[in-house]
Structure formats: C-alpha cells, structure tokens
Symmetry: C2
Subunit: 191 residues, 2 copies
Amino acid sequence: MELLKEKILKEGRVLKGNVLKVDSFLNHQMDIPFINELGKEFRRLFPSDKITKILTIESSGIGIACIAAQYFNCPVVFAKKSKSINLDSECYRTNVESFTHKCVYHVFVSKKYLNEDDVVLIIDDFLANGNALLGLMDIVKKSGASLEGIGIVIEKANQPGGSIIRSKNVHLESLAIIESMNEGYIRFKDE
Amino acid sequence: MELLKEKILKEGRVLKGNVLKVDSFLNHQMDIPFINELGKEFRRLFPSDKITKILTIESSGIGIACIAAQYFNCPVVFAKKSKSINLDSECYRTNVESFTHKCVYHVFVSKKYLNEDDVVLIIDDFLANGNALLGLMDIVKKSGASLEGIGIVIEKANQPGGSIIRSKNVHLESLAIIESMNEGYIRFKDE
C-alpha cells in the first residue's frame, strides 16, 4: 500500500536491534484518518460478507481493529494478556512467547464472544516472529470458528513469522512488507 | 446517556466484589456502532474546537478513544504501562496503583506527542478509584499541555475517584454514573 510505505519512510525511525518505530502514527500516537485508510484497504483485500468478528490482541492492535471494523460492520474482540494463568473455564486460552519482553504471556478470549458460527478476520499492527498471531490462530481453532484471513499493517520479512504463517495456507495480507532496514534506510519487498 | 444505561441494564452483569462486567460491548467484545454513539456524545459534551489530542491509557481505553477521535479530528495518544521503570528521558512518567491487579504500574507518554501547545481531552472506559486518571492528569501537567476535560463511559459513584477528580475543578463528564449495584440490580445516579 503506497500511502503506508510513504508514511513509514517519512515518519518511521529505525533503531538498533532491528526495531522500527512507527509510534508517531500507529502504536503510541494514532493518526485516525490515516488508520481509516488502512481499514478501507483491509476491506478491499478481504471483501467477504461472511466475516462476523474481527479478532486482535491487546494493546496496539485494538485501535486499528476498531477503526477497520467500521468497514466490516462487525464487532471487534480483543484477546487479553495475563501474566498469571487464567483458570476460567469460560475462556479459550493459549500461550504467547514475547520476543520484545522475553517472557510468556497467557492469552485468553471469553467463550461467549467466539464460537463455531463465527468467521474471523485477525488484524494486528506488526508481524515479526509471528508468535502473537499463532496464539490468536490457536484460539480461533479452539473456538471452532472459521479463519477468513489475517490482515497485518507492517510485516518484517527478515523475521520468520510471515513464512511460518503462509506455510499454513492462511490468507495473509500485509499492507507493507519490509525486506531489510538499517539506520536511515528501509527497503520494502517488491509487490 | 439513556442509550448507554439501557445497554448496561440489558447486557451488563454484576459480579461479586463490586465488579460490573460490560465485556459484551465495551472492553472485550466491542460494539463499534454503539461506541460511535458514545463518541458523538463525548463530542456534544466537549464542543471546543481547540482540542488537539485525545489521551487515554492502554488497553481498554484505546478503542473507545480512537472511535471518539473521529468526531474531534485529532490524533489519539495512549499512555503505555510498564512493570519496569522506563528511564527514557524522552518520556513523561508517572505511577499508577492498580486496584484490580494489586500492583503499581509505571505509565509513560513520549515527549514527542504531548507538549505545552496541546489541549487535551482524556477519555477512558471506567472511573472507580481514579488512579489511572490521576496518572494521566499528572502526565498532562508535566507536559505543560492544557486539560480541556475528562470523558468517562461508566463511573462508579460508590468508589471515590469521581469525587476526587471533581474536587480538582476538572470538567468531568461520565456518560453513565452507577450509584449502587448488587447481583441482578443496578441503580444509576439521577441526572
């Protein structure tokens, strides 16, 4: 998506350790008209009228999912993270290893808000190692819902998440794919 | 706000320990057309055209703030929580005691996204003990920005947050104020 690439080149900052900061518009300060454009693009890429839920994970996916949901006419469900194991039998649970925080999160969704009648589009801001997405896919599987696809704002192709998820025959769309980056330099994957 | 009260009466569940669950529409599953109505109501209550930022705190405030921001034509900034002290000198920092999780969070906002030129509306889902809001107010003060007001979806009048914040001469608007509740019973404060 050209608009997103331009925004990343203009406002993104590459830090040491393969970190891309886009906190001026995506995950600390949020540029709402811009995120609406991302939402419209997700709708174009996932035109099915069968989608019943948009699923994301706290925290930085929530705002993007809420804005995007306006183009899908369906509710958002966000998976919650907990450091302690949630023993509530009313929840689907999974574990997610955090690369950034070097710990394991327990992630859960109430059984009330996801079931076998649902058709789910997963939306998140970043795809790097893919652990959060694999956790969300596990929750969708446990619920018996169908997975329509996964929409990602920024994928980092030099980390393995995209390959792992594509190998599972999932309809994955990333609005921008970063092939490589260094301080002051970002190269996108050709589309 | 009548629409919100009806929704709380229809879908809210009162659990032991003075807990109101509204996770079917507000803070786990999110009813986006309904949250748009909350956003319009916040706009009606805070009509100033000087507001430059909507400030909230992760996680459950983010979606509400993003939807509401569409009626204010300004960006959202969400304060981030961290268990470890963030020593980044580029941030405004404060501490928030969590009643629910029995711990202290370090909360921060990048100095890039809040400064003395900003006029800030704080938005959050719940007001109970008021600790999160006092933390956000402290961050606004440290940034030198002006605080236009605070918009809350649900205030629990049997906890002290509302009184504490009103005593500081802040323009606080809660879309629904719960006076008392028991299992199967919710009473709103008369307006």
